[in-house]
Structures are given as C-alpha cells and as structure tokens.
C-alpha cells in the first residue's frame, strides 16, 4: 500500500467510525426512550421501578453476545452497566 493509499484508507475508516458513533448514540437514545415507556408501564401496573433481576439478565446476555462477537466481555459488561444506568435514571426521574 502506498503512502497515499494508506492515507485514503485511514480517512475512509475514520468516516465509518464517525457514522458508527452516530448510530451508537441514536440507538442509546432509542433505548432510553423505550425505557421511559417501560417506566410508565411499571408504574401503571403497580410494579417497582428498579428490577435487579432483569438488569442481571441484560448483563448476562450482553456478556455472552460480546464473547460471540470476539469482544472483551468484561469491558462490555462495564459498558452495559452504564447503559443500564442511563435507563434507570429516566425511570427514576419519572
């Protein structure tokens, strides 16, 4: 690969990363919006807002998918605890 070709490849990959990041953030926003609906549904059904059993299930599934995708599952667990934190925050704020 020539220096010029390498530079072009780098540019292309960076554009792709930017677009993936946009997708990630919009998926997070969608996830938070759905969580909000869940929060209202729980309230209407008289269920508690916090559901640790469900959270543990989400984390376990994410770790398994991470391994299948060849990712570090421990890091993905950490990321998902943060994702759950975002969802929890909108449900608790309701």
């Amino acid at each position: 690969m020539s220096a010029e070709e390498a530079r072009q490849a780098l540019q292309r990959c960076r554009h792709e990363i930017e677009s993936l990041d946009r997708d990630l953030v919009s998926l997070l926003a969608r996830r938070v919006a759905v969580s909000k609906e869940i929060g209202s549904a729980k309230k209407a059904a008289g269920l508690p807002t916090l559901d640790p059993a469900r959270e543990a299930e989400v984390i376990r599934r994410a770790a398994g998918m991470a391994r299948e995708a060849g990712l570090n599952d421990e890091k993905v667990r950490d990321i998902f605890w943060h994702v759950i934190g975002l969802s929890r925050a909108v449900q608790v704020d309701e």
């Binding site: 640790p52 959270e55 543990a56 299930e57 984390i59 376990r60 770790a63 398994g64």
Partner: protein
C-alpha cells in the same frame, strides 16, 4: 463474599453465577488467575444468605470476606496486582510497573521550582535507574505562609518534562477541583498523607482513569489506609498503589517513624502494591538510604524519594532531599538489597508503542 471457582469452569457457568448474584442488586468482580478464578461480590451480602451458590456448577467454595475492605483485600484477587503507570496509548513514553518482580523507584523534587531544575532532576533520576518522576505542584504546607507550590504552571512543566524524557510523572492532588487538570498533565495522582481520609477527594479519584498513589495518613492505622483505598476502588478505579511514609510517634530524632512492619502486614492484607517514602519518614537525607534498604528487605514494591539539584537551596523539604550524586549512590547500593529480597531493580520501565 468471594466465590472460588473450579479451574475448568466455563464462561457460561461463570455468567450464570454472576447473574444469580447480580439479581439481588449486587455487583460482581472477576479476577482470573492461573490456578483459580475468583468472583468477588460487592454490595449488601446479607441479600445472598438464602442463595444456594455453593451448589451451582463450577463453584468450589464460597467464603465470607470478614475484613471491612473487600476490593482491596488479598482474598479478592487471584494474584497480587500490578499497577502500570503511563500505559496510555495517547502518551508515548515509558511505563512504570508497581507490584511485579522489579522494584520501582520514583524520585524528584519535593516541589517543582522551575523548568530547568525539573528537567535536570528528571534526567538525573532516569539515568540513575529511577522509573518515574515526582514533583509537587500543589503543596499542602503546615503554614499558610510557606511556599504553596507553582500550581497549574508546575503541571505544565511536568507534562513538558514527561514528553522530553519519557518519564511518567506523579504529582499530588489536594482538592477535587484540581483533579481534571492534574489528570490531564500527570500519569499518576497522589493523595497526600493529610488528605488520606478526605473521602470526597477519594471518591472523585475513583472515577478517574489514572492510577492513584495513596499515602498513609500521619496518624492513620493500616486498616484506615486500606479503607481509604477501598473508597477509591469502590468507584471503579482499581489502580491504587499504597505508600507507607512514616507515622507520628513520640520520637523526635526523626520527622516521623517509618513503620517498617506496615509493609509485610499490608502485603498480607491486600493485593495492592506497597511502596515506601523514606524521605518523609526520616526527614533527613542521611536516613534515606538505610530506610530504603529496610523497606526493600521488608518486601516493599518500590520507593518514592526526594531528590533536588541543590538541596541546601530547595524551596521545601531541603533537609530530606538527596543530591543527584546522593541518589546515584543510593541506587547503586540498592541493587544488592533488591537481589537479596528476590527482586530486581529498574527493569520495570519499558517503551510503549507509538501514539495511536
């Protein structure tokens, strides 16, 4: 509580055990060793009283952690921890490792007094075999009228010297408001003895992605030091190095009394690396070498030593600072003690890859 698993446990079995624990609102922490893998439980353990963890596939034993510190306790980790400083791909340069076979020596001036003296100090420390540079930017002084440090100007000087010499730097952070600036410029953040129980500072440092050097308080017990480490670790930052720097006793011939026994006690109680500050412990330059030898013999993973180009004219702690020649001499004599303790000296540093 910790769960010791069988050596042949599968990932799916580990996941199932962790889910069982996390269902009760607790968190888990995994520590993989060669011979065994440990799941540590973080949170209110009484919630697990009725859960039959012992009968789950892959579980060998379930043990209570009776110590008030959990994440810091020896039982929580399968092997002693190695804390790597300067291991940031965005920062080319050396990496200093604490807790491995090599004894890591940090040295530098008590306070950053100017760019020239800092650069000279960094080069002298590096050439003598030191792996990291220390230098105070914010100085907690007993008197409000004493020199308080150069603050953010000194932070920039530290970052410049890191770039030019490749030496990772450690500097003290006194207040949560300083954390961002210090983390931006330094590779390791120091909590001084006087701040060891500043719990809001400790919690904030737990959220930072840089290793922390936690110094033992003037009158703090070993248990209190470990609880302070637990504060940092509980917020997610597991890279903590403990530092014994002398405690306050009735003895007045030395600035403090180096608690040599704290080193083996800490090594027994925690998986975290332990280093010793012979400069503050003794308070005079003559005591730095013998106290360093004692520290290494007792099992310390490293030292933090004050070095100044002109100790007689230092703006702070001149009496306890070594000259460059004094530091070289110390390092030359330290090798034999390291070897006698089954350790090596100075081999901790290695080059990292180029910037990403």
């Amino acid at each position: 509580m910790i769960i010791i698993t069988r050596s042949n446990i599968t990932d799916a079995e580990l996941d199932a055990i962790r889910e069982r624990i996390e269902q009760h609102g607790m968190r888990t922490h995994l520590s993989r060793g060669v011979e065994r893998t440990i799941i540590g439980c973080i949170g209110d353990e009484s919630l697990l009283a009725e859960v039959p963890l012992r009968s789950m596939p892959g579980v060998e034993d379930v043990l209570p952690v009776t110590k008030p510190y959990k994440l810091a306790s020896r039982e929580f980790a399968a092997t002693p921890s190695v804390v790597r400083v300067g291991d940031d791909p965005s920062r080319p340069g050396r990496v200093a490792a604490f807790g491995g076979r090599a004894i890591a020596v940090i040295a530098g001036p008590c306070s950053v007094e100017g760019p020239e003296m800092l650069r000279e100090s960094a080069e002298a420390v590096r050439d003598a075999g030191g792996v990291m540079l220390r230098g105070g930017a914010f100085k907690p002084r007993t008197s409000p009228y004493a020199f308080q440090g150069l603050g953010s100007t000194a932070l920039k000087m530290l970052a410049d010297v890191r770039r030019s010499t490749g030496m990772p730097v450690v500097t003290e952070v006194m207040d949560p408001r300083q954390i961002d600036a210090v983390a931006e410029h330094a590779d390791m953040l120091q909590v001084g003895a006087r701040n060891m129980q500043n719990f809001s500072l400790l919690s904030e440092l737990g959220r930072v992605k840089r290793p922390v050097l936690l110094k033992r308080g003037l009158s703090a017990t070993i248990k209190e030091l470990l609880m302070a480490a637990e504060y940092i670790m509980a917020q997610g930052n597991r890279d903590v190095v403990l530092c014994e720097r002398g405690i306050r006793t009735f003895e007045q011939a030395t600035r403090n009394t180096l608690d040599v026994a704290a080193v083996p006690v800490l090594k027994r109680e925690t998986h975290l690396p332990v280093i010793v500050d012979p400069s503050h412990a003794g308070g005079v330059a003559d005591l730095v070498a013998p106290l360093s030898f004692a520290a290494i013999a007792a099992g310390a993973d490293g030292l933090i030593v004050e070095v100044h180009p002109d100790p007689a004219n230092a703006l702070s702690d001149g009496d306890q600072s070594l000259s460059f020649a004094g530091f070289r001499s110390l390092m030359e004599r330290l090798g034999a003690f390291a070897e006698a303790a089954g350790r090596s000296l100075g081999a901790a540093a290695k080059e990292t890859g180029a910037a990403a």
